[in-house]
């Protein structure tokens, strides 16, 4: 396969984004990132048009919206699926209609779709590896904050956690709550269960829940354990404040909302004729102690850490996937 950016003519192509849910700030930024990339691409003559459709956390609504996008004659549809499997019927239909489908940040199982996703096993492994780098092999108590019961992302990440935990036999998972990737819920669930838990040394998170968990620990008057943060500004600010006060150290790991840009460019590159593997792994954005201040400066108050994925970077990511080479990391801001 040819390396680098494919330059086939896609100026007449239209790309749509079917989003399962728009009800939190992460998704709002994700939509804005897509719109920004699409607007720029349109200005550069790389596509003819784009659209965003969000369903309100309803898989059936999303499925029928995909059907409508087929009717509207889009050339590619990128999908953030509300369910790993429930959109398979609609996605198959789109493929059959000759439409390029790129599903991202979700484990869509329909084989005709291209999938752009993180490696959730390495997500969990990185979380535990960091904790091990701080605590070593000493016995430690771990609290896992999960997402939503019955959800595919939650299930896969939890499987990753269990695999990673097996590699650290001295660590014990003493509690598990469902935070639904929502700060207020995570705070409530952790607060409720905390009094009955022994000392917690590490908290595994899924994104959107770290700050709520920290609030719960503080309200209970407990020492802050290593809470894996999820790239939210409030988490980073809290981390910095604690670090300045007590030397607290943790690290932050998570998806970037601009993964929608990766999906967008992957779709564009496929339309442009580039050979793309069915699975494109995207790197997670990782923030370590030394880069904390630099990252914090780039994030708007209350927002999410984001990064731009221009066309050539995405082409490089695709090539790295083909070559099974290490993925290019998102560089820390200076």
């Amino acid at each position: 396969a040819a390396e680098g950016t494919a330059t086939g003519d896609t100026s007449g192509k239209k790309i749509a984004f079917s989003n399962s849910y728009a009800g939190n700030s992460f998704r709002q930024v994700m939509i804005k990132s897509f719109e920004a990339a699409a607007a720029k691409a349109k200005a550069d003559g790389k596509i003819a048009g784009s659209a965003v459709v969000s369903s309100n956390n309803s898989v059936t609504e999303q499925a029928s919206q995909i059907q409508n996008l087929i009717l509207q004659g889009y050339d590619a549809i990128i999908v953030l699926a509300g369910s790993d499997t429930a959109l398979n019927g609609s996605i198959k239909e789109a493929c059959d209609a000759g439409i390029t489908v790129v599903a991202f940040a979700s484990g869509v199982t329909e084989p005709c779709a291209y999938v752009v996703d993180y490696n959730l096993d390495s997500y969990a492994k990185a979380e535990l590896d960091f904790i091990a780098s701080k605590l070593g092999d000493k016995p430690a108590n771990i609290l896992e904050i999960r997402g939503m019961a019955g959800d595919g992302f939650d299930k896969r990440l939890n499987e990753g956690v269990n695999k990673a935990l097996a590699a650290h036999p001295s660590y014990k998972k003493v509690g598990e709550v469902y935070g639904q990737w929502t700060g207020t819920i995570a705070q409530k669930e952790v607060s409720g269960v905390l009094p009955s838990l022994p000392q917690i040394d590490g908290v595994l998170t899924q994104g959107g829940d770290g700050y709520g968990a920290a609030q719960a620990f503080k309200a209970a008057g407990r020492k802050l354990p290593i809470i894996i943060m999820g790239n939210r500004q409030d988490e980073l600010a809290l981390w910095k404040k604690e670090h300045d006060a007590t030397g607290y150290e943790t690290f932050s790991l998570g998806a970037t909302p601009s993964v929608s840009q990766v999906a967008f460019w992957v779709a564009q590159q496929i339309l442009a004729g580039k050979q793309v593997p069915k699975f494109v792994e995207v790197p997670l954005l990782q923030i370590n102690q030394p880069d904390l201040d630099a990252w914090l400066k780039t994030v708007p108050e209350g927002g999410v850490v984001n990064a731009e994925y221009p066309q050539d970077l995405v082409a490089t990511i695709i090539d790295a996937n083909v070559a099974k080479a290490p993925l290019p990391m998102v560089p820390a801001p200076k």
Partner: protein, 320 residues
Amino acid sequence: MADTALQRRPRLTSALGSALQIGLPAATLIAMLAVIFWIRPSAMSYFGFTLLFKFAVPLMFAALAQMLVIMLGDIDLSIGSFVGFVTCVAALYLDEAPLLALVILAASIAVYAGVGLLIHVRQLPSIIVTLGMSFIWLGAAVTLMPGPGGTAPRWLVAFMSWKPPFVPLPVLIALLTALIGHLVISRSSYGAVLRGAGANPRAVERAGWSVRTIRCAVYAAAGALACLAGLTLTGLTTSGDPNVAPAYTLLGVGAVILGGGAFTGGIVSPVGTVIGALTLALAGSLLSFLQVPPTWQIGAQGAILFLVLAGRILFSEHRS
């Protein structure tokens, strides 16, 4: 001359009222279709109709199930999670152990009947009992299937993608269901008893019927219709997912109300409900055709809901 011969409302307005009851949602549906076809003329085809209304099929069954419960003056907040449960059962077992799947589905219909019995015997508010049931169905689904997965049986998928001659499948199913619903609920002699039991259970009890049996049977029928919703949905999505259909609960209620139903019990229309379900399914689609900016999409859905239902002022009776 009898003094009561004085007619208070002329017959005409009454007939007009019931015609509007169906006519209004139908007109809304047609108006929305017109907008879509105007934006995208190519949608006006066999293929277009199939795509537009495919996902209205399970919603239609769920709305009819809700309609049966509303007919009794109750409300079912568990339909959405029950449909999710059915998709899990269907995707897990229907292919490999069809008998087991059928037994589970039959048992869950029996549970529905049991819920009706409990509500009747203890005179409980259905809203809170079915809220509890929604947790139970979700729990059962998550226990069976911790994440989305499974595969729908081939025949089910094949049926849902079947292309009958001339009439697209969703339209065909809608016509058939509306017809059967109309015959059973609005026309048949037992339908009259059921609607009567919803409006004035005491009167029906006094005429020698057992309202308890009626409630059990109607809840069981609602369960069966919700099973159909789950099965058709499994056929469309080709898999199971516990969280696939929570929206069906309130969408179903909306479809019943849109179709001329009322919460007072006994006032429902199967034809109206089917049209209502098609309309609401289309309302979601309309957005993707109208290219509403993302931050206003959900607001636009509320606005469409208002527009679609506002016609009710024209014929809703004013009781003071």
